[in-house]
């Protein structure tokens, strides 16, 4: 049996290795911490310019006092129907305010950020978007940054920004629908509920689940001790499209 072959072929696609660790330990109890939430899942204010779904490294300011009815999604990488029902499924701002009001966390950053990480230009996110968001959050005295991705490349972009925040001296965690991407891209802490992309922060209009995911995730920032740690959360939501 003969196979026509050649020598000298080279594989054409680089397979990534995880970047070096970046780590900021948390030094305060949660009830004293200032929290910021950022998302690569394409959330922005309705009055703002929508993202370019073919790739966009710009970002939008989201005041933590804004009613969630004034937020929307522009993202082409997944079924939007869950976020259309309840924006907290990607950006759980109502839940964060409740946690602040009940004293579970200290306070919220005045300005949080939404960007559309799908197909994101890695260099731009690394050199511009990540450092800019990190600087603003640091200046607001943020202790913990929680983030969600969205689609696959969103997780990549989210982790790039997350790592910039961690490097700037804040403890960060990603709520990942796609934990392998978060891990491979070098996320410092990974919280992994069983959720589909498009409702990364939990089932729409399920306040209990969204709250539980957020609380467990924040507790992980307290308990995790090493770069790259991942914990699976016992919440499951399947989106039957």
């Amino acid at each position: 049996m003969k196979l026509t072959t050649v020598t000298g072929l080279r594989s054409e696609i680089f397979v990534p290795i995880t970047p070096p660790p970046v780590w900021t330990p948390l030094k305060k109890p949660l009830r004293e911490c200032r929290i910021a939430f950022i998302t690569a899942g394409g959330i922005h204010q309705k009055r703002q310019k929508p993202f370019n779904t073919a790739g966009d490294f710009s970002y939008r300011e989201i005041p933590s006092s804004i009613p969630t009815s004034e937020l929307m999604v522009t993202h082409g990488g997944f079924d939007n129907s869950d976020i259309n029902k309840d924006v907290n499924a990607m950006f759980p701002l109502d839940r964060l305010r409740e946690l602040r009001d009940e004293g579970f966390i200290g306070s919220l950053a005045d300005t949080m950020y939404g960007f559309m990480g799908g197909g994101g230009n890695v260099e731009k996110f690394k050199e511009e978007t990540g450092p800019a968001i990190a600087q603003s959050l640091k200046e607001q005295g943020v202790d913990i940054v929680v983030c969600t991705g969205g689609c696959g490349t969103c997780h990549r972009s989210a982790v790039v920004v997350e790592r910039a925040c961690e490097a700037a001296g804040m403890s960060t965690v990603i709520i990942a629908a796609l934990p392998p991407i978060a891990r491979q891209q070098g996320a410092p802490r990974i919280s992994a509920p069983h959720v589909p992309i498009g409702s990364n922060a939990g089932e729409p209009n399920n306040k209990e689940m969204q709250t539980a995911i957020l609380k467990d995730t924040l507790n992980l920032v307290v308990s995790m001790e090493h770069f790259g740690e991942m914990a699976t959360l016992p919440y499951e939501y399947r989106h039957n499209v």
Binding site: T7, E12, V15
Partner: protein, 539 residues
């Protein structure tokens, strides 16, 4: 970090860089050398510079350092004592070679099924009062648009027109959701018997919602037809094709929900189906015919193609085995099947067994026509050195746990099929690369040589990876490596299929495939293509 013997052998032609400080008289071994895969990171952070004329790993192994030398120094000839021979790492020069895969069983070819495609050339298409096909003239009943409108409450408007190749192609289009051939079974089931196919005409489905939002996900090819289509790609119209454009308007805000795009495809199929009916009954003589056979080539290496399809709803779905070639009606939806692997024969694929709804960006999506003309399926089915056992279609689910589940089911199939090799392809990029990596691992971890084929380029660079992804074919065709929103631009072409086939054969024959460079490089692709072209010419 030092290297293992295997790693040093794999990187024999890369620059040799000391990983740590080493004293004079050290006989250099792989343990003294830095892993070349991290050179780019080291160079980026200013820790390493590799001057011209640095020696390679193969050239320094076994040689003695002439002086104390610092860490992260690229080794130069002057830094070594003369005399000691370099270790033999078998750095053979590139060139054609015939390898023996394994001692085979008895050779015997068995034809499982035969398929004939009868092609009917179409010289002109017009919209008229009834649907007919005679003497190369296709007339489509204009009132079919109304019938299509009635197919779903979500469909709000259906328009149809004809775009001719000799006329103005610089016309505004909404995003192209699909390109479809017109084909109908005359005898037999999908993949066997006789199929009539219209030549030089395709249907293009375009669409928006009631708010004017394009029905697309990751990028859109709305704009001007002549600028937004890579004419001639397997999945695109050819430059000489007449295009029947069916433009559908669906209910507001349903473009990104599963039901919306499906309604648009269903409406379009109502029109195509009416054309199929007249083609089926036509007594015209065909312009030419093509024969396809599913052949079991006993005694040859058993290989499979695994084609990953999207399965996350919205436009992320595919319809398997519709009633008529490339149609919608009667088919099984991949999402409803749970994304599990489903096996089709090469003939079933080539006979229109897949209707594509996927639209992850126009350049990297595989349209219905792409499956109808799939170059990799064709290349392997016709290869008389291989026994192509079939084409596995596997979905990319939305939930990570389900991704692992379907990849593992694929692994179980591969094991049961007792394969000698497999090629895994995917379309689009991002989260489906998790499945891509998982599927390749499911095959590679079972000791089966595997090659991966995907668009990665710059924008779609892999987000996950594993040790089995060591023979990869890049299908990007954009100069900057982006999803450039040009229909079918970066999809699998015959040249890509050639490189994938060659890489698989090399792996099966035990011939090393060198590791990828750290960044996407067109030069690597061109060099592989040259090797493939040399072989084809030499046959």
């Amino acid at each position: 970090m030092s290297m293992s013997k295997e790693k040093a052998a794999a990187h024999a032609n890369e620059p040799a860089v000391l990983c740590c400080q080493r004293p004079k008289g050290t006989v250099i071994s792989e343990a003294d050398l830095e892993d070349p895969t991290i050179f780019v990171d080291l160079e980026d952070s200013g820790l390493l510079t590799i001057p011209e004329g640095s020696l390679t790993v193969g050239e320094v192994l076994g040689r003695k350092l002439a002086a104390d030398t610092d860490a992260l120094t690229a080794v130069q000839a002057a830094m070594l004592e003369s005399g000691a021979p370099a270790a033999d790492l078998g750095t053979a020069a590139a060139g054609p070679k015939s390898g023996i895969a394994s001692a085979g069983a008895k050779r015997e070819d068995v034809v499982i099924r035969s398929l004939t495609h009868k092609y009917y050339a179409v010289d002109d298409v017009s919209i008229g009062d009834s649907t007919s096909f005679a003497s190369g003239r296709l007339t489509i009943d204009g009132s079919l648009a109304k019938k299509a409108l009635a197919s779903s409450l979500l469909v709000k408007k259906v328009e149809m027109d004809v775009i001719r190749p000799d006329g103005d192609r610089h016309i505004a289009i909404n995003t192209i959701m699909d390109v479809m051939p017109v084909a109908v079974k005359r005898t037999g089931r999908m993949g066997e018997g006789e199929t009539a196919v219209l030549d030089r005409v395709v249907f293009c489905l375009t669409g928006v919602d009631e708010n004017g939002v394009q029905i697309h996900e990751f990028g859109s090819c709305d704009g001007y037809l002549d600028e937004r289509v890579a004419f001639g790609r397997p999945g695109a119209p050819d430059s000489g094709d007449i295009i029947v454009r069916v433009n559908v308007v669906i209910a507001a805000n349903t473009g990104m929900e599963r039901r919306g795009p499906l309604a648009a495809h269903t409406a379009c199929d109502v029109i195509v189906d009416a054309v199929r009916s007249v083609l089926k009954a036509s007594g015209e003589a065909p312009s030419y015919t093509r024969g396809y056979r599913d052949v079991r080539r006993h005694g040859l290496p058993r290989v499979a193609i695994v084609k990953e399809i999207m399965g996350q709803g919205a436009m992320h779905d595919n319809i398997l085995l519709p009633n008529e070639p490339a149609g919608v009606m009667g088919g099984q939806k991949n999402v409803d099947l749970g994304n599990v692997p489903v096996m089709l024969s090469a003939n079933e694929v080539r006979d229109g067994g897949i209707h594509a709804l996927t639209c992850i960006g126009p350049a990297t999506k595989e349209t219905t026509r792409h499956y109808f003309r799939e170059p990799l399926v064709h290349a392997l089915a016709e290869d008389d050195e291989l026994d192509l056992v079939g084409v596995v279609f596997i979905g990319s689910p939305q939930v990570n746990d389900e991704k692992m589940y379907v990849s593992e089911r694929l692994g179980a199939w591969i094991e049961a099929l007792d394969l000698d090799g497999a090629i895994v392809t995917t379309e689009g990029f991002g989260n489906n690369h998790i499945d891509f990596a998982g599927n390749i691992a499911a095959i590679g971890s079972r000791g089966v040589p595997v090659v991966g084929v995907t668009y990665a380029g710059y924008q779609g660079q892999l987000v996950v990876g594993n040790e089995y992804m060591d023979a990869m074919v890049e299908i990007n065709k954009d100069a900057k490596g982006f999803e450039n929103e040009v229909l079918s631009c970066s999809s699998i072409c015959p040249e890509d299929a050639e490189r994938a086939r060659l890489m698989l054969k090399a792996k099966m024959a035990g011939i090393p495939v060198a590791p990828a460079e750290r960044r996407w490089s067109q030069g690597v692709i061109d060099a592989n293509q040259k090797l493939a072209a040399g072989l084809t010419a030499g046959r």
